[in-house]
């Protein structure tokens, strides 16, 4: 009865438990590494090809220089001097500090290159070699060696060098180029590639999110329909569902149906038993009524107890079945009107003056018979004690949750304030119950509580009792 939450909150807003979040996260777990791998592969390939394009001309220059080295016919010294038959044609070799250099020189033992002929771009400088590169060149005679160095303009250089023996002279031929343009190109490419792939990753994630939302839409739909049932807007899960979750929807419906059947079964069986006992009880009571024998006394007393027991357990069974059935809603105005009509007939000798102020279209979240029990007992009590006037107001409760407030006033003599609590509590324990005044109010109180509502008593402005019943409403 009290276990029914007011708002079954869905888990999807909570990130850790969201199905959408799980799916997007697991997709991201392979999308992001795949894209990163792609990015670094692309950058690596681009870098390799860029440096290849950059280094090939250096080797060509070395080959051209090797091919063009000749004896200097004008040399008169013992040291054979060399000249170049043709100089490499690239204009950048002519411009000072252009970033493209070549030279032919001698490698001294201490690793310093002494230029013999060099490109104009080198001005008066020389190309420096690290010691280990110098050793390398010496060790690998005739092979093109690659190395890094610092240029005359302090620029980072990439160089190619080859050691050749010309006329017993040990020459080293070096070509160098500024590394920065290539580095710049690779960096630029890396930035663009990474940027594009990041955009792609974000796009893919968004697409996955959309796909998941779309794919799970029937599931969200199902969730909303279940909420509808819980809040009394529908009696069963409706709509068409994909074949994966259709069994779930069908199962839910049959469960709701089963629940309804069980509740109905429990209720009707206890009711049937109770009602079946009432007629024999009536016979026994009538038979013993007014007779003076010992037997008659016992029968009167015991049938009275039996009758109370039956009433008590019938009420218990009804209360137990209450709030268990889901998806029920009842129009309040119709119910109140028909009860007023009925009570007008029951108390027709009293000439009652009902004043009704009923908000239309309010829906009680619960069963009709329960609403009738609550309002019927309150109205009956008012009819019993009033002089003539009874006011009934049905309105939306001003509280934060959606509730209906029913206020019933009468102009009778009312009851003492210290009796209110007593009257509402009566009937909770069998031995305290005595049929009569106020018995109906305790039924209303139990019922209202079963529906998470309330019944409060107060002094009426009309002079008699004011009963305020607050019960849940169906929203939307």
């Amino acid at each position: 009865m009290e276990g029914v939450p007011e708002h079954p909150e869905d888990g999807s807003t909570e990130q850790g438990r969201s199905l959408v979040w799980r799916l997007v996260r697991s997709a991201a777990m392979w999308v992001v590494p795949a894209l990163l791998f792609t990015a670094f592969s692309l950058i690596w390939f681009y870098q390799a090809s860029t440096y290849k394009n950059f280094n090939d001309p250096l080797v060509n220059t070395i080959q051209a220089l090797v091919a063009n080295i000749e004896d200097d016919p004008l040399s008169e010294t013992a040291d054979a001097r060399i000249i170049l038959a043709n100089q490499p044609i690239d204009a950048r070799y002519q411009l000072a500090l252009s970033g493209r250099y070549w030279m032919v020189g001698e490698l001294q033992d201490d690793g310093i290159l002494v230029p013999i002929i060099s490109s104009l771009s080198l001005s008066d400088s020389t190309l420096k070699l690290a010691t280990k590169d110098a050793d390398n060149i010496r060790a690998k005679q005739g092979e093109v060696i690659r190395a890094f160095s610092i240029g005359p303009d302090n620029e980072p250089l990439s160089l190619a060098a080859q050691s050749v023996i010309f006329n017993d002279q040990n020459l080293v031929i070096v070509a160098a180029a500024d590394r920065r343009p290539a580095r710049q190109a690779v960096r630029q490419f890396s930035l663009i590639a990474l940027g594009l792939l990041t955009v792609l990753a974000m796009g893919l994630t968004l697409a996955i999110y959309m796909q998941v939302r779309l794919g799970l839409a029937p599931l969200f739909e199902l969730r909303d329909r279940v909420v509808d049932i819980r809040e009394g807007r529908a009696k069963a899960v409706k709509g068409r569902y994909p074949k994966e979750i259709k069994p779930l929807a069908d199962e839910l419906n049959s469960l709701i149906g089963h629940n309804r059947d069980v509740v109905e079964y429990a209720r009707t069986h206890v009711a049937n038993l109770a009602h079946a006992l009432k007629t024999p009880l009536a016979v026994l009571m009538n038979e013993a009524d007014g007779k003076k024998s010992k037997l008659a006394n016992i029968v009167t007393k015991q049938t009275g107890i039996m009758n109370k027991q039956v009433d008590h357990h019938l009420r218990r069974a009804r209360a137990a079945a209450r709030g268990q059935s889901i998806g029920e809603k009842t129009p309040v105005a119709d119910t109140v009107n028909s009860l007023v009509r009925t009570l007008g007939r029951i108390y027709r000798d009293k000439d009652l003056d009902f004043e009704l102020d009923i908000e239309e279209r309010l829906m009680f979240r619960g069963e009709k018979r329960d609403l009738e029990e609550m309002v019927g007992n309150l109205l009956d009590n008012a009819c019993k004690w009033t002089n003539a006037k009874i006011n009934v107001v049905v309105e939306t409760d001003t509280g934060e949750t959606a509730k209906i407030r029913i206020t019933i006033d009468d102009d009778g003599s009312g009851m003492a304030v210290d009796q209110y609590e007593n009257v509402l509590k009566r009937g909770t324990r069998l031995d305290e119950t005595t049929p009569g005044t106020g018995f109906g109010l305790s039924i209303v109180n139990d019922l209202a509580k079963a529906y998470n509502g309330s019944l409060t008593l107060d002094k009426s402005p009309l002079g008699g009792l004011r009963a305020v019943l607050v019960i849940p409403m169906v929203r939307g």
Partner: protein
């Protein structure tokens, strides 16, 4: 006054008919819905005590049928079902009162009396017609304050006529309302009863309207007048 009891429990039916008989009513009994419906449909009852859970046809359906056919006798529903939904359904079907089992016989009798007199347009159980007092509650009659001895049939006759004071009542109507269905109905016996009644309450209180029937009047007020 003639009452129909529709009750499937034989013991309760017997108790009811005994109690009502003792209270001065002519009583017919039906033990299932079909018989109950038939009797109500064909006999002019002054009131009906109707159980709801009946074999063959349930009480609410019977009541709806009667009302749909224009039967307007007062109906008291006597049932074990005590929920408001059932009361509302009962009254909406056309019931005039609703009593739940178990009940006290006095309560039932009081409610029936109220139904019968209300149907006849009276507000109290005691009807006073120029010195003739008919106390339906105690089942006794007085002339100028002194009690008169009446058999149960005589009282039933007087009570019915008092309920419909100043109205012409045919012999057939009298027969139908003071005898139960098992009684050997001979409208000549009505004349005998009328004769006895006149001797006990005063000859001029009951007029014979030739070819139409009888009329209970206040002899002081308007002897032989055409009042309706």
């Amino acid at each position: 006054m003639r009452i129909l009891i529709v009750e499937d429990d034989p013991d309760l039916g017997r108790q009811l008919s005994e109690a009502l008989g003792d209270a001065g009513y002519a009583v017919d009994k039906a033990t299932d819905g079909e018989e109950g419906h038939f009797l109500g449909d064909t006999e002019p009852y002054d009131a009906v005590v109707l159980d709801l859970g009946l074999p063959v046809i349930d009480g609410i359906s019977i009541l709806q049928k009667w009302r749909a056919d224009g039967k307007d006798f007062p109906v008291l529903i006597l049932t074990a079902r005590d929920q408001w939904s059932e009361k509302v359904a009962g009254f909406d079907a056309g019931a005039d009162d609703y009593l739940t089992k178990p009940f006290h016989t006095e309560e039932l009798l009081a409610r029936l009396r109220a139904l019968v007199r209300r149907a006849a347009g009276h507000t109290t159980d005691t009807i006073d017609i120029g010195g003739l007092t008919v106390d339906n509650r105690a089942g006794r009659a007085f002339v100028d304050g002194s009690p008169i001895k009446l058999t149960s049939h005589e009282f039933r006759l007087l009570s019915y006529m008092a309920m419909h004071v100043d109205k012409v009542i045919s012999r057939t109507e009298l027969v139908e309302h003071i005898y139960d269905q098992d009684f050997d109905r001979d409208s000549n016996t009505i004349e005998v009863f009328i004769g006895r009644l006149r001797r006990k309450i005063g000859v001029n209180r009951i007029e014979t309207v030739r070819g139409l029937g009888y009329r209970l009047v206040d002899p002081e007020e308007d002897p032989g007048g055409e009042k309706t």
